[in-house]
Symmetry: C2
Subunit: 173 residues, 2 copies
Amino acid sequence: MRTPAERRAEPADPLTVVHTRWAEEGMAGGPWPFLAMCSLSRLHQILARALEDRLKSLELSRTGYFVLTTLALMNGGRALLSTLGRLMMIHPTTVKLTVDQLERAGLVTRQRHPHDRRATVVRITELGAERARAANAALENADEGPLGGLAGRHEELFDALRDLRLATGDTEF
Amino acid sequence: MRTPAERRAEPADPLTVVHTRWAEEGMAGGPWPFLAMCSLSRLHQILARALEDRLKSLELSRTGYFVLTTLALMNGGRALLSTLGRLMMIHPTTVKLTVDQLERAGLVTRQRHPHDRRATVVRITELGAERARAANAALENADEGPLGGLAGRHEELFDALRDLRLATGDTEF
């Protein structure tokens, strides 16, 4: 927690004005719930856009990148379509559309489950595994834009959010 | 930064498996860029959904809440439609649709700018200001679900993200 004087001495933050105006405009309660939500939304939006942009050259969407990396980490490189959606907190329709795209690009294959005809097994291909490695390397070695600003600080971001993420109930996997 | 032993002793985290499997599956580079992006996406998604749910009883969307609180903080409770979009990093079409909804609910009014016929001035109404106060109070006093898990920790979340947000270039306001 910073003192007001420490906050003023820091580099320009677009959200500082919110903090100042909150008291001036006689808003009820404190500014922190609003500031916390704005701050999380802005960082998410900045990085989501930057990630989409960066992945374009690898012909991957952001969801495609998440699916492919998740599959690469799975035993045998495969998972049920339904498991992927649950793991990634993504709507089943979005997962299905993403897997359609990845399949057309030859990055995954799709098979009916041998014992459950309604279930679909998705498996990463060798090309898909290469693409997942390339995407993760591109993220790790980013040297410009928002992703460049985050380079070398990924573990710091993960650790900064971890307790708060668990406090909000992120425990289903 | 935690040691591996410290990490194992902590409560169950759905992302721990990623960390473990990364080395086992012989993935290139480190797991942190992927973990950082997953972690940010999950927290954002958990809180965005919880916020939408909580605001339903106040007949506000998440974007409506952001617009209304931003207007409440403005000098004279008004801003240009174009300024709102820029301030909130929201697509102009989304801002316009949100302001349409807020206007129908009597929470804002909309007027042509006196000196620039193409510009629209949005102003918060007394009802809108009350609704903004109620929404921020609901957030501050949440006592269950993901928002309850975050109660009393909003400043902590803001501070945890601040340097990283500025490092990604969050400076246009």
